[in-house]
Amino acid sequence: MPAAPFPHGPSVAFDAVVKRYPGGTVAVDGVSVAIAAGGFVALVGASGSGKSTLLKTVNRLVEPSAGRVLIDGDPVDTIEPHRLRRRIGYIFQNVGLFPHMTVAENIAIGLRLEGERRNDVRVGDLLDLVDLPRDLAERMPEALSGGQRQRVGVARALATEPGLMLMDEPFGALDPVTREQLGAAVRGLHDTLGLTTIMVTHDMAEALLLADRVLVMQAGRIVADATPRVLLAGEGGAVADALVAVPRDQARRLRALEAGV
């Protein structure tokens, strides 16, 4: 029997999560935060701030050294990792399409793991969902552009109808135009499918434009937790302000250029 997906939009809670690596490096240093069902939360921070590590404790790609992660109140470590992961969509920068499988086989892999064999209709629907032409189904991944590959990655993550979507720098390797399009598409899917989404990004502009709530991390701790509007108002603290200043300054200079000053 296929594992039941999480009811759309589960809540996620981090309870004093610590990740310490052998050698003493502390990637996540006691994070406690609750994410409401149906939220779109961005985790922002510089490289090495611990945001990716924190994200991966949700689908157990990283096991915390201390603390717990709960989905809808259930600790994730009470579910076998592979069962847990089949109920969570996971998208990351390098996509990781299986090069020896067609686009259709890549998209349907989660269904195949659950023992479902005839997935043609579902694959077609998913290609529609991520705005890819259906005739891409029989292509090999190497024949796709970077943007198409990440759309396939999104389709693959959505195939098992997960309620929770984890995204680790999902658009990091894409050109700005594709990035913009795909960002909007993902936000659209989040809204229509009623997902809970956690997105890791180092790009504050992307976080502000896509997310309902932005968590800023530094040195393994959450140093700001606010809505985009509050952060833009300069009420997120020093670290958040510094990150917000970059796109704000860029926007100001662009406006100035436009005005011909």
Binding site: N59, L61, P81, H82, R83, L84, R85, R86, R87, Y90, F92, N94, V95, G96, L97, F98, P99, H100, I109, G110, L113, R156
Partner: protein, 513 residues
């Protein structure tokens, strides 16, 4: 030459079948061992260091030595578990070749697994694959092309090294190469080499077909390749299934020189006339052939009384020739149940031989004379003589100290003497080339070298087989040394060479056997 080549080709099919089975079994065993090890090694760096280190170490051992090492190892193991493990033939050859096949497969598989893009592994974990699913659905398909390249390398190596299994008594195309090299029958060598090379090329091409089929996702090609490989192996198995009457098959052993090949054929012809199927195990070393007989791997062969007297019985005294034969017979019966049916009637002793003109010029007639001039002379020996106790006995009895010693296969030893690269050789007294090359045999006045009567030995389970004894009894005392020398020379001479089989027929006709 053409006829000789066609004769040689006639021997290829049976040996090719044995060669295919051995190489295929070794490759399959190599795969069965190396693939799980590769998976373990890819998961744990510590395991990888040990497995790859071991496989590389095996690879540095010359294949001939690796094969030879399994003989004492299996003997010891067999003794440990109370017998039953054959130390010669298929098993040691299989083990050595399987070990040899490990490295290319293991190294390619480990390299392939380590080289998979980490993003693909992260994706496999991310979509919720178990470790087994990840291996089956992602890792295995991605490393198959690299592993196939390793399998192709291993296949070519294994097919090449399998020619050496002749030396541990496992028939292979090496039988042709070793016999041909020994009797300087180049048609045989050529037939053996060509068949082995062709086999390697065909196996490589078929594995390549499978490899490309996988890369291009063409099931047709993959199955065509597997089908053709399977068909080849099935064809090689056919004679075994058809064989059925294994009990009536007699295996005749032979050491690695012409006289042994000829005598094996004489024995074989008589057994065939008595209604037996006959197989030959040729090219066995002196050290292993007696053990092969004692353990029943071969049924009958000709040895020399002095060889067993010094090497197996470790005797250093030298009683008269008939007494040695009698004592050897009593010893083999008591220790191994081996029956000494009788002496054939001639002796093939170690004899120090020199070019006649050289011996005259240096005034050397006895080993005592030779010892005085030895520090200025080079001794050419066969491959094993310098390791044998006979050499130690002669050396110590006369104080022989040569300026240099050089080992040759017997045929090349005579050439080395003729060309002057050796001044003295450890010749064989029944060798036709002593007379043909006008060599002088240096006498042994102190009697340091024991008698070497050719003796017919029967394996324990054949010792009291009346039918076999009846078939072979007429050979006892029937072969005078002059006839044996002539038959040997037919095989050894450079022009108008005969095959051992033809020389055996000549010997039978001449002696009215």
């Amino acid at each position: 030459m053409t006829r000789a080549f066609l004769d040689a080709l006639a021997r290829v099919p049976d040996l090719l079948a044995a060669h295919v089975l051995l190489a295929a079994a070794a490759l399959v065993a190599g795969l069965a061992i190396s693939l799980p090890l590769a998976i373990l090694s890819a998961r744990h760096a510590g395991v990888a260091r040990v497995t790859l280190g071991f496989a590389s170490l095996v690879q540095t051992i010359p294949s001939l030595a690796l094969l030879a090492l399994f003989y004492p190892l299996l003997l010891w193991l067999s003794a440990l578990v109370g017998g039953g493990i054959p130390a010669l033939g298929f098993l040691p050859a299989l083990l050595a070749l399987s070990l040899y096949a490990l490295l290319p497969i293991l190294r390619n598989a480990v390299t392939g697994l380590a080289g998979i893009d980490p993003a693909i592994i992260e994706a496999a974990d991310g979509v919720g694959m178990t470790a087994a699913q990840k291996l089956r659905l992602v890792e295995a398909p991605l490393v198959v092309p690299i592993v196939m390249a390793g399998i192709r390398t291993a296949a070519v190596w294994t097919i090449g090294a399998a020619t050496l299994s002749t030396t541990v008594g496992q028939p292979s195309l090496g039988d042709l190469i070793f016999a041909g090299l020994q009797t300087q029958n180049w048609a045989l060598v050529l037939a053996g080499c060509a068949a082995a090379a062709l086999l390697a090329l065909v196996a490589d091409a078929l594995l390549g077909l499978i490899e490309r089929g996988i890369a291009m996702r063409r099931r047709g090609r993959i199955w065509a390749g597997i089908g053709l490989l399977g068909a080849g192996i099935a064809l090689a198995l056919a004679p075994i299934w058809a064989g059925g009457g294994q009990a009536r098959t007699i295996t005749v052993g032979a050491k690695n020189f012409s006289e042994q090949y000829v005598l094996a054929r004489v024995i074989g012809h008589r057994l065939e006339a008595a209604g037996y199927r006959v197989r030959y195990r040729e090219g066995l070393g002196s050290a292993v052939i007696y053990q092969a007989l004692a353990s029943g791997d071969i049924d009958v062969y000709v040895d020399y009384s002095g060889t067993l007297w010094t090497n197996a019985m470790h005797r250093t005294d030298v009683p008269p020739r008939p007494r040695i034969v009698q004592l050897v017979g009593e010893w083999t019966r008591q220790t191994d149940g081996v029956r000494l049916l009788g002496a054939l009637g001639f002796e093939n002793a170690y004899a120090f031989a020199m070019r006649s003109d050289d011996a005259k010029r240096r005034d050397i007639a006895t080993l005592g004379d030779l010892a005085r001039q030895a520090p200025r002379l080079t001794l050419g020996s066969d491959l094993e003589f310098l390791e044998r106790p006979e050499w130690a006995a002669v050396r110590d009895a006369y104080g022989l100290r040569f300026a240099a010693t050089q080992r040759y296969t017997p045929s090349f030893m005579y050439r080395a003497l003729a060309s002057g690269r050796a001044d003295v050789i450890s010749a064989f007294s029944s060798d036709g080339r002593i007379a043909a090359q006008h060599l002088t045999v240096v006498s042994d006045p102190k009697g340091a070298i024991p008698g070497y009567d050719a003796i017919l030995l029967l394996a324990p389970k054949r010792a009291d087989d009346a039918k076999i004894v009846t078939a072979l009894q007429p050979l006892v005392g029937a072969i005078p040394v002059a006839a044996m020398r002539e038959a040997n020379y037919m095989v050894d001479r450079d022009s108008d060479k005969r095959t051992p089989d033809a020389a055996a027929r000549w010997l039978e006709r001449t002696l009215g056997l």
